[in-house]
């Protein structure tokens, strides 16, 4: 019964969809190897803009921004993953506790409030309680909006683990902490790892909220790129973009492979 599933042209539209999604990225990747200083003229294949990224006049600025972005992403993803793991234990294994529905809404709140509204609310809040905006406020903001992204794969994974593994360990007199550390956590690992990776990417990706709560003089990679792009797209930006593109694509591939492997075992 092929007939009811197949529609003429759907394959063509899918291919159009993929072309639209990938064309801009491919074009920028190709042009990042352009040997010419002009972004319109093709001057032959060259690594010069990649060398420029690391040694050129803008290298210190982007280097510092990249370091801020990376350390914030690592710290925010780690904190968000720990918080989300605890939350998923309560939500999936916690029975019908008081405030469960409210907790569920709260976990999803960062996804429901538009980013720009979150940005405005946090800026007003930090200013009002007198916290100076900077590295710390960016980190707090990132932890908050990364929680639902870390929670998603962790809770999904936990739901797929039957309770009897842990019960067996408890029946054999393992303490709750021991049963968790030696039985449940290893089983949850694929979800925890992909949760961390997603939170990490989401933190690296953020521009709007960071731009509001970063304060003067503080830059992350996206805000530095934005500032530079406002004056026009330069070739070194294309090299940076290609590097970030590669980093995100490999992290997502990694997360996908881990998740797929996890789905096969119990």
């Amino acid at each position: 019964m092929k007939g009811v599933r197949h529609f003429p042209g759907f394959l063509a539209i899918t291919l159009v969809c993929l072309i639209v999604l990938y064309a801009p990225l491919l074009v920028v990747t190709v042009y990042s190897f352009n040997g010419s200083t002009s972004i319109t003229q093709w001057g032959g294949f060259s690594w010069r803009w990649y060398i420029d990224v690391f040694t050129g006049p803008e290298a210190p600025r982007f280097g510092l921004a990249a370091r801020n972005s990376l350390t914030i992403a690592v710290l925010a993803a780690t904190a968000a993953t720990i918080i989300a793991t605890a939350a998923s234990l309560a939500m999936v294994r916690g029975g019908k506790f008081r405030g469960r529905n409210a907790s569920f809404a709260l976990i999803n709140l960062p996804l429901m409030v538009p980013e720009i509204v979150t940005a405005v609310a946090m800026l007003i809040f930090f200013t009002m309680i007198g916290i100076k905006t900077g590295y710390g406020t960016i980190l707090i903001a990132h932890i908050a909006f990364c929680i639902p992204f870390a929670y998603l794969p962790i809770a999904a994974r936990l739901q797929g683990i039957e309770p009897f593994y842990e019960e067996a360990a408890r029946d054999l007199y393992a303490s709750r902490a021991r049963a968790f550390a030696h039985v449940l956590l290893p089983l949850m690992a694929p979800g925890v790892i992909s949760g961390w990776l997603l939170a990490f990417i989401i933190s690296l990706d953020d521009f709007i909220i960071t731009n509001f709560v970063k304060g003067a003089g503080m830059e992350t990679l996206p805000t530095a790129i934005f500032g530079s792009v406002k004056q026009g797209i330069k070739p070194n930006i294309m090299a940076i973009s290609t590097l970030m593109l590669l980093a995100s694509a490999s992290l997502v591939t990694l997360s996908w492979l881990i998740n797929r492997k996890g789905q096969r075992s119990p």
């Binding site: 009811v4 599933r5 529609f7 759907f10 899918t14 969809c17 993929l18 999604l21 801009p24 990225l25 074009v27 920028v28 042009y31 319109t40 720990i82 918080i83 939350a87 234990l89 309560a90 939500m91 294994r93 916690g94 029975g95 506790f97 008081r98 405030g99 907790s103 569920f104 709260l106 976990i107 999803n108 709140l109 960062p110 996804l111 980013e115 720009i116 509204v117 979150t118 405005v120 609310a121 946090m122 007003i124 809040f125 707090i140 903001a141 932890i143 929680i147 809770a155 739901q159 521009f207 709007i208 509001f212 790129i225 797209i233 970030m244 593109l245 995100s248 694509a249 992290l251 997502v252």
Partner: protein, 305 residues
């Protein structure tokens, strides 16, 4: 929305019940204190009086909402009438977001359908191909799109090269560029929920209709669509809501004529020209629109059952 919802199998699985509250505490502390509380404060803030240097005075005032909705002329001495500037920007944003959602549906539905009807082994690879670009930095994707469609960019060179156009198409700074940018930003949000709905769909229903001589398109329209409708509505909402408050696509791909809510809010918090209570008020109005869309979604979901 995240899994493990209120309808989860919460009754049986209660091994961690005694620790549920302490385990939720960090989430409440972080999201509750640094997001929920700030959003509530923002609502309060929108009713405060603006100070000259960009701060506020703690005095109740409707000035921000007055500025948004009511015009009293350039010097404030004319009779009050409706101020169309900001309503116009909201209207444009709604329209741009709606067009982007329509574009996403037009391309996203066939794509999701095609992927969901592949053999299970290749499904995840197709799905993976569609989702990778989403994980690439949004700023970089938007800049890449701008690079591709700019006046003397590769797309125009290509179009002129094959003789389709004689001169470069002025795409950047138009409504179309912003719509394309929003479409490009959020397309995977449309594909994923529709894919999930079509994948769950029982094709025996379609086969039964086909056996009764319904045409393929009629089967799709009258049998399949009503069943997968929740997925379509979810997809539309997931594209529409972020599009409405988007900042990067309109800011980088558009110009003064394509000004949207995101840029309007952003402007209120820049330098000494800013007006924080006004910015808060616009945010409150934007959030109310989003909440209305979510309520509409909840109602549509309920009427399905």
């Amino acid at each position: 929305m995240a899994g493990a919802g209120p309808s989860g199998k919460s009754g049986k699985d209660a091994a961690w019940a005694p620790l549920a509250l302490p385990l939720m505490l960090p989430t409440w502390a972080v999201i509750g204190f640094f997001l929920l509380l700030p959003v509530l404060l923002m609502v309060v803030y929108s009713f405060l009086t603006k100070e000259f240097r960009g701060g506020v005075i703690w005095e109740f005032s409707l000035a921000a909402y007055d500025q948004f909705f009511i015009s009293r002329g350039l010097f404030g001495d004319e009779p009050a009438s409706i101020e169309w500037t900001y309503i116009g920007i909201f209207w444009r944003s709604l329209w741009q977001a709606a067009v982007a959602t329509g574009l996403c549906l037009l391309i996203g539905f066939p794509t999701a359908w095609f992927i969901a009807t592949r053999p299970p082994a290749s499904r995840s690879i197709w799905l993976f191909l569609v989702t990778i670009p989403y994980w690439v930095n949004l700023l970089i994707r938007t800049v890449s799109l701008k690079f591709l469609i700019r006046d003397n960019g590769p797309l125009n060179e290509f179009l002129m090269g094959i003789g389709l156009t004689s001169g470069p198409l002025p795409l950047v700074n138009t409504n179309l560029a912003v719509q394309l940018g929003l479409f490009y930003s959020y397309l995977p949000f449309m594909v994923l929920p529709i894919y999930a709905a079509v994948e769950r769909y029982n094709f025996a229903l379609s086969e039964a209709a086909a056996d009764l001589y319904a045409s393929r398109w009629r089967t799709l329209r009258e049998i399949t669509l009503p069943v997968v409708k929740p997925g379509i509505i979810a997809g539309c909402l997931l594209v529409f809501i972020p599009s409405l408050g988007a900042f990067l696509a309109p800011d980088l791909l558009g110009g003064a004529k394509t000004f949207m809510i995101g840029s309007l809010i952003d402007e209120q918090f820049k330098g000494s020209q800013g007006n924080w209570p006004f910015g808060a008020a616009i945010s409150v109005i934007l959030m109310s629109l989003v909440l209305l869309s979510l309520l509409f979604y909840a109602r549509a979901q309920r009427s399905q059952k």
